[in-house]
Symmetry: C2
Subunit: 211 residues, 2 copies
DNA sequence: CCCGAGAGTGAAACACGTTCCTACGTGAGT
DNA sequence: ACTCACGTAGGAACGTGTTTCACTCTCGGG
């Protein structure tokens, strides 16, 4: 794979991919079909199975069109990840997180999410790989994912759906927890940790950080 | 890029790559030339510049030979990373780490290493990318890198070149620090953090963990 | 000295991400 | 209804990681 070019193509206007909500109805529909196809293929066969020709075919768009919407495979996968992740966050906003302490609540949300990911190992492998391989040109999508995760953890920390102010220190703690979670996920995806290890390593991190 | 096959090829015996020290003198020499070429190309042009044909040519071996030594580009780069990393660890064993507190000593070694990496951004990009993209078949090389890093941090924590026993909790803390460092490096490599952010985020993590 | 096996060579072929080009269709403005 | 711009279809072509294959070289045992 070659790295994604750092600058966007300037041969035409902003690509539809940069604005998930813009464009005509037909364009939003195409975008949805493409992301659906991506998720399906990734869930079946992981990163390698998400082949651009296969995605295009399954989504019933031309290869050129796929590239107009998403400038690279990495963009495509990270966008898919962002969409799924954001969905989850929206769902989690509905009700307060169970648990009596910040520790319990954080573990609850992270474990729930971890288990959801582990139920679809191939999909997770594809998404984590893409996330890891992303370069500067994917900053936007990555930031979206990061923000989602931060929001979820902040909510869990405070135990309320609408997290108010987050202190400097809390933000730092959340970042570290995110880092540990990501590292653990990588280790799991690459077969260097099992599911139990992932939960345990996050538990230890949260315990050490929240004391 | 396609993922590395999960199982090793069983058409012949163990490849020379698995045993950096084994083989004939000529084989060790070839291996060295290959890794040198890899480092040179990576330092000049990053991940994309490490092209298997180019490595083979610069190392003066045939492409098939290169693949006999390293079954994929990822193995090649991670092996190169492991070699460089191990070198550093050996150097750091020579003398005690300066600093009055564990915090200071840990920051000293990590910052020193961080700055060394930042002096060769292309090389670091190539190595970190490979590390992130590695799958199960590279477990051995990755473990080598992880062990090196753990050793260095453990030494710094205790302030002595020969770190004695490491408690359960210390090991957990070291793992978390490694995770944060890796995350920060990824963010730096992908342009989402600058050099200062990297040091700061590690500093915060060490402070929160060692209190 | 000769042999056979394993290692190395060199080149072709294949797979998949990415780019590019040409023709087609469709919808907004006239 | 006409037309022009633009997005899309369809597919060829290119680059690079990876595989394969037929050949050659080297070297240790007879």
């Amino acid at each position: 794979m070659t790295s994604v070019s750092t600058e966007p193509r300037d041969t035409d206007g902003p690509s539809p991919a940069t604005a998930p909500t813009g464009g005509s109805a037909a364009q939003r529909e195409r975008r949805r079909r493409i992301l659906d196809a991506t998720i399906t293929l990734a869930a079946e066969g992981g990163f390698d199975a998400v082949q651009m020709r296969a995605v295009a075919e399954k989504a019933e768009v031309a290869l050129g069109t796929l590239y107009r919407y998403f400038p690279s495979k990495i963009h495509l996968l990270v966008s898919a990840l962002a969409r799924e992740f954001t969905k989850d966050v929206d769902r989690s906003a509905i009700r307060a997180t169970p648990g009596d302490t910040a520790h319990e609540r954080i573990m609850y949300v992270l474990n729930r999410r971890t288990r959801a990911l582990q139920k679809q190992p191939k999909l997770t492998e594809a998404l984590v790989r893409a996330f890891m391989f992303a370069d500067q040109s994917v900053t936007g999508e990555i930031h979206e994912v990061g923000t989602s995760l931060t929001t979820v953890i902040a909510r869990a920390m405070h135990g309320t759906p609408d997290h108010g102010e987050v202190t400097e220190e809390e933000a730092a703690i959340i970042r570290i927890i995110s880092d540990v979670w990501l590292s653990a996920l990588i280790s799991w995806v690459t077969g260097r940790m099992d599911a139990e290890d992932v939960e345990k390593s996050i538990d230890v991190a949260v315990r050490l950080l929240l004391r």
